[in-house]
């Protein structure tokens, strides 16, 4: 296997009738549910073929099928994460941290051949807990699908801008 940095492939997109306002509404709802620890409702925002992916700081274009990621969750693992975060035995997050998910610079890019809508956004997530004051900054690459009349999250790839996670010790919340 090559050790050279992989290149992130972007599919051909065509214009979509999904508006930026619609995408923003969903992202703001997601942010609010996460900040309020309404994790089960948050899980309902996702399609069954969910993909929540966080590459390592040193390999932002990582290929999840071959590279070590921080997080590479399908719906089953997202559910596992929700169960964990609602448990009093998730020691890193009990008591819960206070978080603030800020989402901005939203751009709807279009939809692909399968009708999946692509968008990207900038984010800033603050996390306060005990003596921790952590901030995570980066880009969301987002995928949405219409389910009935509603827009649902299909994919969220979180690319961190920091060159290393240190001095932080974990990504114990959902970014």
């Amino acid at each position: 296997m090559s050790r050279e940095a992989p290149v992130l492939e972007r599919p051909e997109l065509r214009p979509t009738d999904v508006t930026r306002a619609e995408v923003e509404d969903l992202l703001y709802l997601e942010a609010a549910l996460l900040d309020e620890w309404r994790m089960e409702e948050w899980l309902e925002l996702w399609t069954d073929d969910a993909e929540y992916v966080v590459p390592t700081n040193d390999n932002p274009n990582a290929d999840p099928d071959n590279d070590l990621m921080y997080i590479n969750h399908d719906h089953r693992l997202l559910k596992g994460l929700v169960v964990r975060l609602l448990s009093v035995r998730a020691h890193r997050e009990y008591p819960w941290s206070k978080t603030r998910h800020m989402v901005t610079n939203v751009r709807v890019l279009g939809e692909d051949g399968e009708g999946v809508v692509h968008a990207e956004a900038a984010f800033l997530v603050w996390r306060y807990r005990l003596r921790d004051a952590d901030s995570y900054v980066g880009r969301y690459d987002l995928r949405f699908r219409r389910v009935g009349s509603e827009l649902r999250l299909k994919g969220k790839r979180v690319t961190l801008d920091a060159w290393t996670l240190a001095p932080y010790g974990a990504i114990s919340i959902v970014l």
Partner: protein, 436 residues
């Protein structure tokens, strides 16, 4: 406090404790760097990280900035202090890459991959007696590689690496042999391409590099602590249960391997990518893993069975753990400051691997381990919590567990007692050497 007083042991009572100033003291931290990290063999990196001539990667080891590069002329690994011999600027300024030469950005002194100084702008300015051969990059005093694992020492008189590794060698060998079988099993005439380094194990792309606001020795304790699994990682075991994995407590043994090295070897309810299928992996990988397991056991016998079935946390004193459990991780501990460490974790995998097995490996690894996993964040919490407790006025930490056990269990604390004794011996012996 004198180093000799930092540990209290009372044999008749089965009592062993260390003084918590060992977790907070600046003076002790400085002594550790001088007498442990400047004297031992230290893990630097893996040969597979720089497979081709000119490939390089940057590291900090024992607080020193270094980089390693594969020589363009010989193909050997070279390790240099990451500092220009002119005025000191770091010359390797990217985490990894490939380069024909290394040029310092400050005054453009240029070095080749063997460290030779090959370019000095306006060289005449240094006068007729200036000799470029005297100003090559400074290599670390010792560098040796064992089955792909590259170690360095800042002590030119350190014993040979194979002697230093002592009993840890057979574990590195067994793990690598099993990977060799696995890679051959998966390879369809493929494998690593020619020209560069090739071996049965490779470090995958992507590094888990994170910080813990705690003393490095707390992570040493934690990384071969079989006792904490149930309470600390309750949510991980809940996850396994939710995946229909039959969860039973791990059992196993501990062996001291000499020179501070030790290993715990134990059963696990979870699956292993080499090679133990469990329901959390899903049906798609079952046939592959069963066949791989059979092959490993067929070729390596009892050792193969252990490699496939059992988990190992192997400590190579002082800065490396090979965590061969849910997947195989190299955990490298950097003692940045008395109350802060940086951790780098790399994932090791057979150089050829069936895509379904690779997928299972990657998932198994990040589900448990790493800063985004279901388990590691709680270890980080535990260590930072212990660090805060070190300031509480309670002075001693207890490591008496299993003191009277004839067969040391994986859930005992003898491996930690052995670690702390080795640590103390090195600090104490160092203090007998006259300074200056």
């Amino acid at each position: 406090m004198d180093f000799a007083d930092l540990i209290v042991e009372r044999e008749e009572e089965g009592y062993f404790a260390y003084h918590r100033s060992a977790l907070t003291s600046e003076a002790i931290h400085r002594a550790e760097l001088e007498r442990i990290f400047n004297r031992c063999w230290l893990y630097l990196g893996h040969e597979s990280e720089i497979p081709q001539p000119g490939d390089f990667a940057r590291r900090t080891v024992g607080t020193r900035p270094l980089f390693f590069v594969r020589s363009q002329t010989t193909g050997d690994v070279r390790v240099f202090a990451n500092s220009c011999t002119h005025r000191g600027a770091t010359i390797c300024r990217r985490d990894r890459g490939n380069a024909k030469t290394f040029q310092c950005f400050y005054h453009a002194w240029t070095f080749d991959s063997d460290g030779s100084l090959i370019g000095v702008p306006d060289e005449e300015g240094y006068g007729p007696r200036f000799d470029k051969t005297q100003f090559g990059l400074v290599p670390v005093p010792r560098m040796e590689s064992y089955r792909g694992l590259v170690f360095i020492s800042f002590d030119p008189d350190v014993e040979d690496l194979v002697d230093y590794l002592a009993g840890a060698r057979e574990y590195i060998d067994a793990m690598t042999d099993a990977a060799e079988v696995a890679a051959a099993f998966a390879a369809n005439g493929g494998g690593a391409s020619g020209g560069g380094w090739s071996g049965p194990l490779q470090v995958l792309r992507g590094t888990h590099r994170y910080g813990i606001k705690a003393n490095w020795k707390l992570l040493v304790e934690n990384s071969f602590d079989g006792y904490h699994l149930g309470p600390t990682h309750a949510t991980y075991f809940q996850f396994l249960k939710d995946q229909n994995v039959e969860v039973s407590p791990s059992t196993g043994s501990m062996r001291l391997l000499g020179n501070g090295h030790a290993v715990i070897e134990y059963t696990g309810s979870w699956g292993r990518p080499v090679a133990r299928w469990a329901s959390q992996f899903g049906e798609s990988s079952r046939a592959q893993l069963d066949a791989l397991r059979e092959r490993i056991i067929g070729e390596l016998g009892d050792t193969g069975y252990r490699m496939a079935e059992l988990n190992r946390n192997l400590y190579i004193y002082p800065n490396l753990f090979v965590m061969d459990n849910n997947a195989t991780a190299l955990r490298v501990i950097e003692p940045t400051a008395p109350e802060y460490m940086e951790v780098a974790q790399y994932e090791l995998a057979p150089s050829s691997e069936d895509p379904t097995v690779r997928k299972v490996r990657l998932e198994s690894y990040v589900t448990f381990a790493g800063p985004g996993g279901l388990a590691t964040p709680d270890d980080v919490e535990a260590l930072e919590s212990c660090q805060q407790g070190a300031h509480s006025g309670v002075e001693w930490s207890l490591l008496s567990r299993g003191y009277f056990s004839e067969e040391p269990p994986m859930s005992g604390e003898l491996q930690m007692r052995s670690f702390w004794r080795r640590w103390q011996d090195q600090l104490t012996v160092g203090s007998l050497v006259p300074s200056g």
